[in-house]
């Protein structure tokens, strides 16, 4: 599953822009991950601070 390290996340929304399934939504400082997430990991790759991780 996709995990969000909320201590690292700077809520910039770059991940939202690359998500192919529209599974991410940024609500001010809170990144929401919906069940549409296919765990492709594109968001983790783009994250400037490394707050996202796909864990088995």
């Amino acid at each position: 599953m996709l995990t969000v390290n909320r201590y690292k996340c700077c809520y910039c929304g770059a991940c939202v822009g690359v998500c192919p399934t529209c599974a991410l939504e940024l609500v001010e400082t809170w990144l929401e991950v919906s069940t549409e997430c296919k765990e492709c990991g594109l968001c983790a790759k783009i994250c400037p601070v490394g707050a996202l991780e796909v864990r088995a």
């Binding site: 690292k8 910039c12 770059a14 939202v16 822009g17 690359v18 594109l42 790759k45 400037p48 601070v49």
Partner: protein, 391 residues
């Protein structure tokens, strides 16, 4: 709640659209999902002075500093200077976005637009297939806003386009992963924006210093998404601080994604227009997006007024927006995209050669186009594939 037009997003594009539409007599509601417009910043804050003045009379407090020109550093440390106002159109003022964005939202409000903060669009309302408004959440409570027209100015993370069937998903090649520190350092050049090139500094991107006055600067970098890995932008920025600004004091941190896809196939759908980063109208070469968003916002706001008075909210009725923004900024975006596609592939040796080749040329009065022509004359073999773009 009912109105003529809902603008989703209260950045520069959204505010200019709301202002233009409200000035033309429309009943406009502008939604901003954050509780504070303009904060947190996701921007290096540079704009061309001349272009900004064409659109709006800036208040003194919107501007942090005015710069004289731009200096480009090759990976080997050699540098060249390009002159003020004309260096790619992205230099001139360094803004204070927190104040600037609020100022533009005030202009929209003064023109009559209703601004709603902490109000997040959740989706488009549809009746018999046609868009008839926006469903939103306002301070945690559901809110339906009925309107025949919606402008999506919802930034890099845009959803409005996707809801309307416009695929704005960015490929990793088409987004720069960016990190920036606001830095206090005696070594900062207060008069020049500086650009640092090189694959070990910022792979397929560049690093920058945009001075904000009194030895304060936005120092940051962007790297191509496909060459990024988790946390890479911040890691490289820390490395840049060590090598270039070892005594710098970091007083703020900014991160973000910058679209560099070039113009999208369509920025309109039935009942919907996209503006600014949402329409991927950022310049793919420089990453500058403020002025393009403002220009497109004005056009969209004016077309919205015409569409409402004509009663035609279909794609056809909004075609004027599509034609007008493409004519105004679309060609430059397409050209910048091709240049970007070329420059992101250059090795450090190539960049050293290009910048080194201009050591004896006086390019201090030149804009980006002029500099590219000189570069082509001096390095025809390396730049041959850009022939049609430069000459």
């Amino acid at each position: 709640m009912k109105c003529d037009l809902v603008v989703v997003g209260g950045g520069p594009g959204g505010s200019m659209a709301a202002r233009a539409a409200a000035s033309a007599g429309l009943d406009v509601v502008m939604l901003e999902k954050r509780q504070e417009i303009g904060d947190p910043v996701r921007c290096a804050e540079g704009v061309s002075k001349r272009s900004l003045h064409k659109m709006v009379q800036p208040e003194p407090e919107w501007i942090s500093s005015e710069v004289k020109g731009a200096r480009l550093y090759a990976p080997d440390g050699n540098s060249i200077v390009m002159s003020e106002d004309r260096s790619g159109g992205e230099v001139g003022y360094v803004l204070e976005r927190k104040v600037f964005d609020r100022g533009l939202a005030m202009l929209a409000a003064q023109a009559g637009a209703r601004v709603m903060v902490k109000t997040r669009a959740l989706g488009l309302l549809k009746k018999e297939g046609a868009i008839c408004g926006v469903s939103a959440m306002r301070i945690g409570e559901p809110l339906q806003i009925e309107a025949p027209l919606v402008i999506g100015a919802d930034g890099v993370e845009s959803k409005v386009g996707r809801w309307a069937g416009i695929d704005t998903t960015l490929k990793l090649d088409d987004i720069e992963s960016c990190a920036q520190f606001l830095v206090q350092d005696a070594s900062i050049d207060d008069e020049y924006t500086e650009f640092f090139l090189g694959n070990s500094i910022a792979p397929s991107g560049y690093a920058w210093s945009f001075p904000k006055g009194d030895k304060l600067a936005n120092i940051g970098l962007g790297i191509q998404g496909s060459r990024s890995k988790p946390g890479e932008a911040v890691r490289l920025l820390r490395q840049l601080m060590k090598s270039h600004f070892p005594n710098g004091r970091v007083v703020e941190m900014v991160v973000g994604g910058d679209p560099c896809s070039g113009p999208i196939d369509s920025a309109i759908a039935d009942g919907v227009m996209l503006v600014g980063d949402a329409a991927r109208q950022t310049d793919p070469l420089t990453g500058g997006g403020i002025l393009n968003a403002m220009k497109a916002g004005v056009i969209a706001g004016e077309v919205a007024a015409k569409a409402i008075s004509a009663g035609d909210y279909t794609r056809k009725g909004l075609q004027e927006y599509e034609a007008h923004w493409r004519e105004d900024i679309g060609k430059t975006l397409a050209r910048s995209f091709q240049l970007k596609e070329f420059f992101v592939k250059l090795t450090d040796k190539d960049i050293n050669q290009l910048i080194g080749s201009m050591a004896k040329e006086d390019i201090s009065k030149m804009d980006l186009g002029g500099m590219l022509r000189i570069l082509f004359r001096l390095n025809p073999k390396l730049l041959w594939s850009l022939k049609s773009l430069i000459i």
